[in-house]
């Protein structure tokens, strides 16, 4: 276990292993994205109340749900960095913040585009779900600017791990906001596989496919940027120089 753990922390080992995984992850991502998007745009029947705006929701729900994974991921990575001094975890945490900010922004924008026709408003300051998601975006932007401001990577890792705890608490607030404060944003619909109901299986399966596609995209993008980080930080290492010569 410990051998495996310290191996995993080695940037070289991760670079080689992820290089083997990447083609498979990319292939799976392309397949799920294609199925999800074609289904979403061509086959998904209109909702009895929302019409074709339900097509917005399969994208919105997938991106929004996945965006909640970033702070827990950054917290785990930050803890590993501080406790076991694993450089790789710090590289993951750094790139996760940037990708997470993208996810939060797309969540807010797609939600607005849906709300503008279904709620009749683009934004509502009194809604807890909307505001807590905006807070997540600002927290992530804070983490990003903190990292670029602090040159000492050890201090940066500590500060970002601390902010990740706040972010994790906020994730819980985002998740339960619709139940604790019943304002504008609707609660998540129960999973319903009854084919005769208005929110039947076709909506759920389409959403599920999009969620898998978005998680695969998250992994691929995060692995790609972490590999770049490895090349930059380890540029003096012999294995990187060999790799550059071969390419």
């Amino acid at each position: 276990m410990w051998v495996w753990f310290s191996k995993l922390g080695s940037p070289k080992w991760f670079y080689e292993l992820s290089g083997k995984w990447l083609p498979w992850l990319i292939a799976a991502m392309v397949i799920f994205m294609a199925i999800g998007l074609v289904w979403g745009l061509l086959f998904l029947p209109p909702d009895y109340q929302q019409g074709f705006t339900s097509r917005i929701l399969i994208v919105h729900v997938a991106v929004a749900g996945t965006s909640l994974a970033f702070f827990p991921l950054m917290f785990v990575a930050g803890t590993i960095t501080l406790v076991w001094r694993m450089k790789l975890a710090d590289m993951v945490a750094k790139n996760a913040a940037i990708l997470g900010a993208w996810f939060s922004f797309v969540t807010l924008a797609t939600g607005s585009l849906w709300g503008s026709v279904m709620w009749g408003t683009w934004w509502e300051w009194t809604d807890s779900r909307l505001v807590s998601m905006l807070f997540q975006l600002f927290l992530l932007l804070g983490v990003i600017s903190l990292r670029s401001a602090l040159e000492d990577s050890d201090t940066a890792a500590k500060a970002c791990a601390l902010l990740s705890i706040v972010g994790c608490i906020n994730v819980v607030i985002i998740k339960y906001s619709v139940e604790w404060w019943n304002t504008l944003h609707q609660v998540s619909s129960p999973v319903n596989m009854d084919a005769s109901s208005p929110n039947g299986p076709e909506f759920w399966i389409a959403t599920l496919i999009m969620i898998v596609a978005v998680y695969l995209f998250l992994s691929v993008s995060l692995i790609l940027s972490t590999r770049n980080e490895i090349l930059e930080r380890e540029r003096k290492a012999q294995w990187v120089q060999d790799l550059v010569l071969k390419s």
Binding site: L42, P46, G51, V59
Partner: protein, 71 residues
């Protein structure tokens, strides 16, 4: 399977039951979001490799000049 397509014409497909602007904006934004976060890291990798390569050739040249001056 093609019967399950919800539209009978391309114009209907674009219109999305009157919500065309919102639906297409969301899918366009999603496409840009996915493309940017895959293409940028891939392009950055090429840039890093190019820079490292240049630096290594420079280092090798300096090294060989030093060697020839040493005699």
């Amino acid at each position: 399977m093609l019967d399950a397509i919800q539209f009978s014409s391309f114009a209907e497909f674009v219109d999305m039951g009157g919500y065309g602007f919102n639906v297409w904006s969301v899918y366009a934004l999603f496409a840009i979001f996915v493309a940017v976060n895959l293409i940028l890291p891939l392009r950055k990798k090429q840039k890093i490799i190019r820079q490292l390569k240049r630096r290594m050739t420079l280092d090798a040249e300096i090294q060989s000049e030093d060697d020839s001056n040493g005699d």
